[in-house]
């Protein structure tokens, strides 16, 4: 049975108000915007069958190549909708105003999308990658029967957590034990091993966790989230698709901070070190200014599944409860970039 947090993640949705781009309005009057509820774990192209009826009579003749933008910023369809929202709306905007385009696909920026098929295979390929990270191979995904694979995808598409909970154990993904409770409530799945047999030394237990980290950097400082400037280019976002090595040491809890630190040592690691050595951060900043080295940046906000995260939370809890159905944990981070 899925626990409560997972249920919340699956039921999470973002109200969207979708406008047809004005260059594509061929009817008078222009169609009113469409209101739809977009599942957080879903993907924008999957909403097209819901949205298209609103606009189909207003479109100019031609073939569809559908994409979305937010304030002119093209949205990558292969990023889960909830992650896009967390990343691009520092101050959550509800409803979220997006623009749909049926023409003029920006193929220099976005990967082509052939509707549901593309989204499904993007999901399956991510699932394979996650399986490889967790179990060291993707056999269990490859060996899943065609119909189970299809049903698993359908469960994700329909937000059917019960069906997903029934099917996903067939993937035999290793799990990590929740660190804060020593209960071994889940007994059937094998423990997560990473690269097990090869580890001859094996003093520290490790596991590899599939993580996708999206780092949006801004140069100005801000007081409130609503003052965060709008984003103009994907170049302001860096994307790290890199497993986190989960370290399990006696008497120590591996936290979200440790996980982010391992991916972004420039932000937490150095900073922690300098402030530790210098006593206070300001001294460190000034001394770096003097010799021309960049100042360290600063993490302003970490968001997962719409939740603003405290960095001290045990990473095992975060992974077990907030990961997406393809077994990836998507983390959105807002940083103030180091000044040059």
């Amino acid at each position: 049975m899925a626990n409560e947090a997972v249920k919340f993640v699956w039921e999470g949705a973002i109200p969207l108000q979708i406008h047809l781009h004005k260059s594509e309005v061929a009817s008078h009057p222009a169609p009113p915007p469409a209101l739809v509820l977009a599942p957080r774990i879903g993907y924008l192209p999957l909403l097209v069958p819901l949205i298209k009826p609103y606009f189909k009579d207003s479109l100019p003749p031609g073939e569809d190549s559908i994409w979305f933008d937010y304030k002119g910023f093209p949205l990558k369809w292969y990023i889960p909708t909830g992650v896009l929202f967390d990343l691009l709306c520092a101050e959550p905007e509800r409803p979220w105003n997006l623009t749909i385009h049926f023409r003029g696909y920006p193929s220099n920026i976005l990967i082509p999308c052939e509707g549901e098929d593309s989204v499904k295979w993007n999901f399956v390929n991510s699932l394979k990658e996650a399986a490889y990270i967790i179990n060291g191979n993707c056999k269990n995904v490859m060996n899943m029967s065609q119909s189970d694979q299809e049903d698993l995808w359908t469960s994700v598409m329909n937000g059917d957590l019960d069906a997903y909970t029934r099917l996903s154990p067939k993937l035999k993904m290793g799990t990590i034990e929740n660190e804060f409770s020593r209960k071994t409530s889940m007994s059937s799945p094998p423990s997560r091993q990473g690269v097990p047999e090869m580890d001859v030394t094996g003093q520290v237990k490790t596991a590899r966790i599939p993580v996708r980290l999206y780092v949006r950097s801004i140069t100005q400082d801000f007081e409130n989230l609503e003052d965060v400037p709008e984003i103009d280019t994907w170049d302001d976002i860096s994307y790290l698709n890199r497993p986190v090595e989960f370290l399990r040491e006696e008497g120590k809890c591996f936290t979200l901070r440790n996980a982010i630190e391992s991916l972004l040592p420039e932000f937490i690691g150095d900073r922690a070190q300098t402030s530790g050595e210098e006593g206070e951060e300001r001294t460190a900043d000034e001394s770096e200014d003097a010799d021309g080295a960049p100042q360290t940046g600063e993490i302003k906000l970490v968001r997962i599944q719409g939740i603003e995260m405290k960095l001290e939370i045990p990473f095992s809890w975060v992974v077990n409860n907030l990961m997406n159905p393809e077994f990836y944990l998507h983390i959105s981070v807002l940083v103030k970039a180091p000044q040059r």
Binding site: S107, N108, I111, V124, V200, Y239, R242, E266, P338
Partner: protein
Amino acid sequence: MESAREVSDGRLTVEGFSVAARAFSDKWKLHNQSLPPWSWVPLINRALLVSNKEEGYLSLEKIVILSSLEEIPEEESLNVTADYSESEELIDQTILVQNVENEAHFYDFHIVYSASYGVPVLYFRGYCSSGEPLSLDVVIKDLPSCSVSLLVESKWTFITQEEHPYLNRPWFKLHPCETEEWIRLLSQSSTSAGCKMPVELYLVSWFSVVGQVVGLRIPLEMLDQPFSV
């Protein structure tokens, strides 16, 4: 600690990748003088303004493939040459428009390390002289015929368009999920002493297989000689 000098399980560490990459580009320069060298691009994270000397990828750019030579037998079907700019200037624009088939296609190849799979991954993109990117339908015509049939069979699991991990733009990607397995097989058969492959030979062996998918063959001497540094 496992030795950084040998590969026994088909995977590379990020440090191993950087060693293997340098060895590969050195050998390439030595044996493949008709093509430009691979260059090492250090990873610069634009958003974070952080550069990392250890991490990066290999890049071979502006390789010209003349799609007009399609009919020539498979062995030489790809006329791969470097720097086409001189002859390009001679082509009259109007002729270019009429004979789209004869237009030169440029290809960029990047070898990027995948931390998920612990193996190198080939990314590539094609574009014409105007810089306009080539779509998959056009790229297919430039690929060797064996790749084309594989591509038709496994549309979503062989070559797909994905985001370049460092450039934030759509590139073609050769799927890496079986790499570890066949590299392990290769290293078992190619070396007599056990099943270990020197890290320096990893990318050479890997590219001898992967390069063929996109029509880039490597001279056999690159594989023969043991690396002596």
